[in-house]
Symmetry: C2
Subunit: 311 residues, 2 copies
């Protein structure tokens, strides 16, 4: 019986691999560099080569492997094809078909943020649930929606693209996506710095924050020290995110929100700030929905990819 | 083989029934009064009696009936139990269990707005799709989310409670739910009148609208006549709804939005106004998602309930 499964997470700089038992026990993890030259045509052959090497090393036959799941940074349809992945220099690509030909094992493909959500559901902050919203607060804001244990991919692969929820469409400044007032303009690392700069321009209060050199970490550190300017900035950040989560809860009413990404490293104080606003804005039936920290960090993708392959 | 299915829609004043072939052909429709006395304890026996009568009349045995689906105005869990239904004077009620005992056929239960969404997917404005958001613009704003052909019920039965999305949480006026700035405070029939009153207080322009006697229909009729005050009011209404739909699309990315309810009777001009704002605010991949009018009117519930029973 096939007792093993691979989870692969393709990023713009590295490809992460995990070999798991089908119960989710991780046996091995490794990475290779992402070779993006020639429109990323080496990427899938590199994946296949690395997996074959590992199978040889561990003396695994194809029959031992239940499948391979793969997360890619772009919209995915039918768990097989990628519409485009800018960071890999890919256009439309039949990822599952190509890899199945190279490896001879069943392949499933998911968007990287969605797959990370599935990983957190399986073995991370959302363990034991089947309905969750994962929010990744990084340079941008990513997300993944899980309903009844399955990724909500959406009709155009845009399920879970919560970073582009139009929270304040009259905002003058544009988002990278071309729209205005997207959630990630407020609640990403970049957004937090933007909110801090605005507040610094407004306030005359003494603060440890320096407008000329400011990072998301600076703001969050100052917040934890009780710097009153930083407290107002993080409150603002938490209000935007709490409001967005309250709206999302009216759509899919998850069992739990899982908050990950670099910004979430600020930990419980930040989660508490978000929860305060979430609770204020959420529909009565959903006010007590827990907000949990993500637990798998950068490994969420390989866990989720492996889980995807097992479905 | 069981070739028939019942769809039942329980409202506060009447219970609607439909007898269908399993392919969705409607064979008969009828209603009975909802008897809400004694905490609505007569309602389910009334349903059973009416169904048994119809089976006798049509000479159907239990074996001929694949099941009975039922929509109720309250949150539902596990397709069997109602947490509460204020308009029926019900608290927690094991609807499926009670009716299965009375009728001896398999029962499935859904929230009425969710079930209507399923009906529109099966035989109405969303026919041919499996992923849709239904928006019902009535006295309040209801909704239903269908992902992969199934109702998204949510962890607390609040899936699709889009009328309570916190669009403007700093609004002074409270919603019936106790929160502030819910979508239905802007885009229900009541919300439209509220927006019109605001605009009439602001403007000095000549208008056919009379602030002392104004209904949603008055506003929509004046809009279609090109009354410039009404045009601004409906634009405002459409901006709120377009913005909300754009946010919802970032969550589940539906194939189609289906717009129903009394306000939607204003037809294509209103749909076009909503689409204009939706397109402006939606994430790039979702900008072309169609907005369609609901087609089943008050029958959406019995169709959807029948479909639910067939799953």
């Amino acid at each position: 019986m096939a007792g093993y499964v691979f989870g692969v997470d393709i990023g713009g700089t590295s490809i992460k691999f995990g070999l798991f038992r089908t119960d989710g026990t991780v046996l091995d993890k490794w990475e290779v560099k992402t070779r993006t030259q020639n429109n990323g045509c080496e990427i899938l052959p590199d994946v296949a080569r690395s997996v074959q090497q590992k199978m040889k090393e561990k003396e695994l036959s194809k029959e031992d492997v239940a499948g391979l799941g793969i997360g890619v940074p772009g919209p995915v349809i039918a768990e097989r094809e990628v519409l485009a992945a800018v960071n890999l220099f890919w256009g439309h690509k039949k990822v599952a078909e190509e890899l199945e030909e190279l490896l001879g094992i069943p392949i499933k493909v998911g968007n990287d943020a969605n797959v990370a959500a599935l990983g957190e559901m399986w073995k991370g902050g959302g363990k034991g649930t089947k309905n969750l919203i994962m929010v990744t607060l990084g340079t941008g804001v990513g997300g993944g929606i899980i309903v009844d244990g399955k990724i909500v991919t959406g009709a155009h692969g845009a399920g879970g693209e919560i970073g582009h929820a139009a929270m304040e469409p009259e905002l003058a400044e544009a988002c990278n996506c071309g729209n205005h007032g997207c959630l990630e303009q407020f609640t990403s690392a970049t957004g937090l710095v933007r909110l801090a700069r605005q507040e610094l321009a407004r306030t005359k209060e003494k603060t440890v924050l320096n407008p000329d050199r400011i990072s998301a970490k600076d703001v969050l550190d100052a917040y934890k020290e009780g710097d009153s300017t930083a407290v107002r900035v993080v409150d603002d950040f938490a209000r935007y995110l709490g409001n967005a989560l309250a709206i999302f809860a009216c759509v899919v009413d998850p069992e739990i929100f899982v908050i990950g990404g670099g910004v979430s490293k600020a930990g419980q104080p930040l989660i508490d700030a978000i929860r305060k606003f979430y609770k204020r804005f959420a529909f009565a039936a959903c006010k007590e929905t827990p907000l949990a920290q993500a637990e798998l960090g950068n490994d969420a993708g390989i866990y989720g990819a492996a889980k995807l392959a097992l479905e």
